[in-house]
Structure formats: structure tokens, C-alpha cells
């Protein structure tokens, strides 16, 4: 049963190691309820497709894993699609060549494969930090992409279908379901996995392990001096984040029943996963998940509205970098930029014109600067 504790003067509840205030508990319950009713909401409108939201949640889940590295160790992995893809392909290979039909076994296979892959790539790329690390992870991701593309056993660019057994689909609880029911059931499976995953991530981020990672992220040498086994801890974090990617990939394969290199292993997918974390707010726990849904939704809806949907995504990312560097969740939190600005606006509505003027002035200044630099580069200083 929930136990009452006191957190800095506000009453809070502790249950299974999760400590929340009343306000946070309300948000938590609301969020979980929302996740569960999404299939019903999606049936209301044509532009809201369950499969799109589902895909967003899966990529977002991979981003939650990536966030462990990004948030605490300050390592930017640019190849997380490698684990997503490994999970997806492990599922496909198990279903096709080993005839495994059970979703549970397929997911276990995905987890195992992603763990091994993350362990190997981790050993090879964690010797480096910073951009070198980003480049290395990216290159390993592309290596896997190249392998999936080049091997005819893996289906090449056509990819692999996941249709094991006579039912032509993976079995949930040993039973085959009709496509509609299968879609809903796998969605709820995803929700359960996500809730468990978030809970585990929450526990990790409340543990001494997280403090160690924070110390490493701040200053490696100092962390080594106070006796932390830096390499081993970072490696463990890397493997954990890889497992999240693998689970997401395995689920993706089970849901879509088809994996292609382009959709799972390509480096733009790695970019997507990274940007989901930042878009949602990488200093928060659920931010990456929300960023995932928003980004996938944006790409999907953008595709319907205009053929220039990449431009749309690019613009959103630009606005994010300059206006809301803390991401969606980080900006909406109390004390975040949105709340601050809204309260300013409520107090003094004329502040709007000031903002507009400041923005216009800074853009004008930047362009003048650029033109001056250009003149100097081309014609020298006069």
C-alpha cells in the first residue's frame, strides 16, 4: 500500500519505490489512463491513426533508453537505430528461420540479440567520448544497415516478413487473432511494456548508479579519481539503453509484421530517435516518449498535408533549438519557459510587441553580420 512520506514540506506518497506528490500522482494516473484509451480516441478521427501513435510510442521508447546516456553521461549516440534494428531483425529471423511463433519468445530473442549487440558496440565505441563517439556509433549503425541490405538471407532492401507458422502471424498467448484484434492487443502489450520500462528507468534514475553516471558525465577524470569504474559503468548504461532499443524494435517487428532496413536501421532513424529525446525534453523521464509520438505524428500528418514535410520537421527542430531547448515537457513544467512567458503576458499584454521587436532586431543583426563576413571573405578588409 502507498505509504505517506514528507518531501520538502509537501506530503508525498511512496509506492514500490516511486515517490510522488499528489499533483504528480494525478498526472501519472491521467497519463496511464490516456495511454489506455488511445485506441478509442484514435477511432474518432481519420487523421489520428492508432498505428501512427503506436509507432511513435515504440520509437519514443527507444528514445527513453537513449536518454539514459544523453541525460547523465552526456554521450550522444547517433546510432541507436542499430539496436532498434537488431531487435526487429532478430524477431524476423527467429520467426522465419527458427519458426518461433510466440510473441513472448520473439521478444526475448530481440532482447538477447540487442544486448549482445550493445555489449559489442559498446566495447568498441566507448573508448571515445564526444563527437568521436557519435561518429563511431553512427558508423556501426550504418555497418549493420549495410549488412542487412547486402545479405539476401536478410531479404536485402525488400526486408523480411514475420509470418511464422500456419496462422501467418505471431501468436499472443498461443492464440491467433484477427488483424483488428491483433492490432489492439499488441498496442496494449506495448503500453504494458512501456509502463514497465518507464518504471525501471525511474528506479535507475533514483539509484546511486545514476549519481555515478552524472559524475562521469560532468567530469570523467574526477570520477575516476574518486574511484568509480568509469568504463564499466558507462558500458552498463550503454547496454541498458541498447536493451530499450531492442525491446522497441522487437515490438515494432511484431506489430508491423515486416522489417525493412530503411525503416529500422537507416541512420536517419537514429537521428529520429535522438531528436525525439530532445524534442520531448531530454532532462525528463517521459519527454522522449512524448517527443516520439509528436515527431512521428508530425512526419505522418505532414506527408498528408504537403510534399514538403521534411521542411516542416526541420522548421520544428529549428524552433526547438532556438526557442525551447528544454523540449516539450521541459518547457511545459512549472518554471519552464512556457509558464514564465504566459504569466508575463497575463501581467502585461503589451510585452508581446516587445518580443516581436526583439526577435526582428536579432534576425536583422544576424543577417548584417553574415553579410559583413561574406564581404570580408570575398574582398578582404578595406
Amino acid at each position: 500500500m502507498p505509504e505517506r512520506v514528507d518531501r520538502d514540506g509537501t506530503p508525498a506518497y511512496r509506492f514500490l519505490g516511486v515517490e510522488v506528490t499528489r499533483r504528480e500522482a494525478a498526472f501519472l494516473v491521467l497519463g496511464v489512463v490516456f495511454l489506455f484509451v488511445i485506441p478509442d480516441i484514435a477511432s474518432l478521427s481519420d487523421s489520428l491513426q492508432l498505428s501512427v501513435i503506436h509507432q511513435g510510442l515504440l520509437f519514443g521508447f527507444a528514445a527513453v533508453g537513449l536518454n539514459l546516456l544523453l541525460r547523465h553521461t552526456k554521450l550522444t549516440s547517433f546510432g541507436h537505430a542499430a539496436f532498434f534494428g537488431t531487435g526487429a531483425y532478430a524477431t524476423a529471423v527467429l520467426a522465419r528461420y527458427a519458426g518461433v511463433q510466440s510473441v513472448g519468445l520473439l521478444l526475448l530473442g530481440a532482447i538477447a540479440a540487442a544486448t549482445v549487440m550493445a555489449a559489442i558496440i559498446g566495447v568498441l565505441s566507448l573508448r571515445h567520448t564526444g563527437l568521436y563517439f557519435a561518429l563511431l556509433t553512427l558508423a556501426f549503425g550504418q555497418l549493420l544497415y549495410a549488412i542487412a541490405l547486402g545479405q539476401s538471407a536478410l531479404g536485402g532492401s525488400d526486408g523480411l516478413p514475420i509470418r511464422p507458422g500456419p496462422a501467418n502471424q505471431p501468436l499472443l498467448f498461443g492464440t491467433a487473432f484477427s488483424p483488428d484484434v491483433y492490432q489492439i492487443l499488441t498496442y496494449y502489450l506495448t503500453v504494458v511494456v512501456i509502463l514497465i520500462g518507464l518504471f525501471v528507468m525511474y528506479r535507475i534514475t533514483q539509484s546511486p548508479f545514476r549519481n555515478a553516471l552524472d559524475a562521469i558525465g560532468q567530469e570523467r577524470t574526477r570520477a575516476r579519481f574518486i574511484g568509480l569504474p568509469v568504463r564499466r559503468y558507462v558500458w552498463a548504461a550503454f547496454v541498458i539503453s541498447g536493451i530499450y532499443g531492442g525491446v522497441a524494435g522487437g515490438l515494432y517487428a511484431v506489430v508491423r509484421q515486416y522489417v525493412r532496413p530503411e525503416g529500422t536501421l537507416f541512420f536517419l532513424r537514429s537521428g529520429d530517435i535522438l531528436f525525439m529525446a530532445i524534442l520531448g525534453g531530454f532532462r525528463t523521464l517521459v519527454g522522449p516518449l512524448i517527443g516520439g509520438v509528436v515527431l512521428v505524428f508530425l512526419q505522418d500528418v505532414g506527408q498528408d498535408v504537403t510534399q514538403y514535410y521534411e521542411f516542416l520537421t526541420g522548421m520544428v527542430l529549428l524552433i526547438l533549438v532556438y526557442g525551447f531547448p528544454r523540449g516539450i515537457v521541459g518547457s511545459l513544467r512549472s518554471g519552464g519557459i512556457v509558464n514564465t512567458r504566459l504569466s508575463e503576458l497575463r501581467r502585461e499584454p503589451s510585452v508581446l510587441s516587445t518580443w516581436g521587436r526583439t526577435a526582428a532586431q536579432s534576425i536583422e543583426r544576424k543577417v548584417t553580420e553574415a553579410l559583413t563576413s561574406l564581404r570580408i571573405i570575398l574582398f578582404g578588409v578595406d
Partner: protein, 314 residues
């Protein structure tokens, strides 16, 4: 498969040609990385922007002066037109690079590196659709340029049947390589840039305007990418996705060579180019994977890459 010496030679030459193109792309990337500490994900798009622009400019020039005739004069006119197109393209890319650095990148040098990745990725997406807006969705065929250059029979001199276009690329590439090393070793501006790379604060202290150096370096990188795109206008067609593959391969090149080392980029580019080219005949499925495999191998033996970091030597 039996490999005759001639075939091996042709493959190697192809590899060298591709290596020179890779070097032109990777050198811009590595210089930006070495000095600005920014991994420019939009670099591949600048490359492909260069290719598209070059096709347009070349078409314009040919439209003005009429199709090149035969004979020595016609050939000379044609080559001049190609070179002019390349130079005009590179000149167009220069202000693009300047604007990118001064308007977008400069604001976020002091932030986490992640934001620089997001920013350059946003620019990548935007450039992609700008290209789609200007040149349309379908690929642009470029056989005209390619076959016209190949019609010039330079290769008959040595009795080897090899496309003249590739010889042209190798020649232009060599000039760029020599020019770049000369620029960084011998010119004052080059030395200032290297000084900034080695010690930013000290450079500022002795009166170097680092702001301007940063803009210059980024513009130079964009120039090189555009130049490479214009020279490498692919033999068959220019497509919207053509920027991705060179971008990722030049990542491999700069990791092999050592982050930010120009010499390393040169060696790495030739290595990747030649091995990739050999793979095409020996084991086709390995073509995409081979560069990454070399990279992994080299990192296992020498984690910092073949050559050290940039600045100490060019």
C-alpha cells in the same frame, strides 16, 4: 572470378577517382570539425546542392554559347564550360556556408553538442525540401555532360580503355589536394586557421578574430562540398538522396584518418575509395559494408585513427 591485370588497374583507378571525390567532401567536414568542433550533418546536402547547381549552370552556359562543336576547339570550349560551371557553383555555395555559420551556428557554440547535431540535421531536412522545391521530385539525368567528356579520347594514348571523365576528376582532385595542403601550410590565412584550431584562446590573444575564422572555415567547407558535388556530378543522374551516402562515407573517412586531420582524411579517402571499388568486382554484397569494416579494424588497432588531430601538421 579471374581478374586480369587490366581489370584490376581499371578498378583501382575507379577507386582513386572515388577517393578524390570523397576527400573533397571529407576535407570540408574535417576542417569544420577540427576548428568549430561541429559535426555538420548538412554537409552531404551541400554536396548534392553543388551537383544540382552545377547541372543548372552548365546547361545555362551551353545554352548561351551553343553546343560544343567537334575538334580541338570544341573540346576546349566544352572543358572550359565544365570548369566554369564548377567554379560558379562553388562560388554560389560560399555565401550559403557563410549565412549558415553566421546566422544559425554561431548562436549555439556554447551549448551541448547535441543541439549542434539537431541544428545541422534541421538544416539537412530543410535543404532537402529546398532542392525538391527548385528541381522537382524526379532525378535529373546527366548523361549529356558525362558522355560528352568521355567522347574526348585521351585514354587512347596509353592504350587503356578508361573513361576520360574519371581522368578529369582525378586531375581536378589532385589540384584540389595540392591546393588545400598549400593553403594550410604556406598561406597566412591557412596558418591563422591552424593556430585557431590548436589554441583558440591564444589565437584570440594575439589578435585573431575567431568569429571571422569560424565563418571562413565553414564557408570553405561549404565551398569544398559544393565543388565536390559539381565535379562529381554522378555519371547517370542526380537524385534527391545523393547526399546521404557520401556524408556517411566521409564520416568513415575522417574516423579512419583521425578526427580533424587533413592528411588522415586524404589517406582514408583513398583507402576507402580503392577498397570499395575492389569489392564491387570481388564480392558485390560487401561494397557497402567494407568501408565500415575497415574503420572498425583500424579503430581496434589504433583507436585515435591513423593520424593525430589537426593543427599541429596540416
Amino acid at each position: 572470378m579471374a581478374v586480369t591485370p587490366t581489370a584490376a588497374l581499371v578498378q583501382t583507378l575507379n577507386g582513386i577517382q572515388f577517393g578524390f571525390i570523397l576527400f573533397m567532401i571529407a576535407s570540408g567536414l574535417t576542417v569544420i570539425l577540427g576548428i568549430l568542433d561541429v559535426l555538420n550533418l548538412a554537409h552531404g546536402e551541400l554536396f548534392s546542392l553543388g551537383a544540382y547547381t552545377a547541372i543548372g549552370v552548365f546547361g545555362f552556359i551551353i545554352g548561351v554559347i551553343g553546343p560544343p562543336g567537334g575538334g580541338v576547339v570544341g573540346t576546349a570550349v566544352f572543358i572550359l564550360a565544365v570548369l566554369a560551371a564548377v567554379l560558379v557553383t562553388a562560388a554560389i555555395l560560399l555565401p550559403v556556408g557563410t549565412l549558415f555559420e553566421a546566422v544559425f551556428l554561431r548562436q549555439i557554440y556554447d551549448r551541448d553538442q547535441v543541439y549542434q547535431l539537431v541544428l545541422t540535421f534541421a538544416l539537412l531536412l530543410i535543404l532537402l525540401d529546398v532542392k525538391k522545391f527548385i528541381w522537382g521530385d524526379s532525378s535529373i539525368r546527366t548523361d549529356a555532360v558525362y558522355s560528352a567528356i568521355n567522347a574526348i579520347p585521351t585514354s587512347e594514348l596509353v592504350g587503356l580503355n578508361y573513361p576520360t571523365y574519371n581522368v578529369f576528376v582525378i586531375l581536378v582532385g589532385s589540384v584540389v589536394v595540392v591546393g588545400l595542403f598549400w593553403f594550410f601550410e604556406r598561406t597566412k590565412t591557412g596558418r591563422i586557421i591552424r593556430a585557431t584550431a590548436i589554441d583558440r584562446e591564444m589565437a584570440t590573444a594575439i589578435g585573431v578574430s575567431t568569429d571571422r575564422v569560424f565563418t571562413l572555415v565553414f564557408a570553405l567547407g561549404a565551398f569544398l562540398a559544393g565543388f565536390a558535388g559539381a565535379v562529381a556530378v554522378p555519371p547517370t543522374s542526380a537524385t534527391l538522396e545523393m547526399g546521404t551516402n557520401p556524408l556517411v562515407l566521409s564520416f568513415v573517412v575522417i574516423v579512419i584518418g583521425g578526427l580533424g586531420s587533413l592528411r588522415g582524411a586524404f589517406v582514408g579517402a583513398l583507402l576507402v575509395g580503392i577498397i570499395r571499388s575492389w569489392m564491387i568486382t570481388l564480392y558485390p554484397p560487401g561494397e557497402i559494408a567494407a568501408p565500415f569494416a575497415i574503420m572498425a579494424l583500424i579503430l581496434l588497432v589504433k583507436p585515435e585513427g591513423l593520424f593525430g588531430t589537426w593543427g599541429e601538421t596540416a
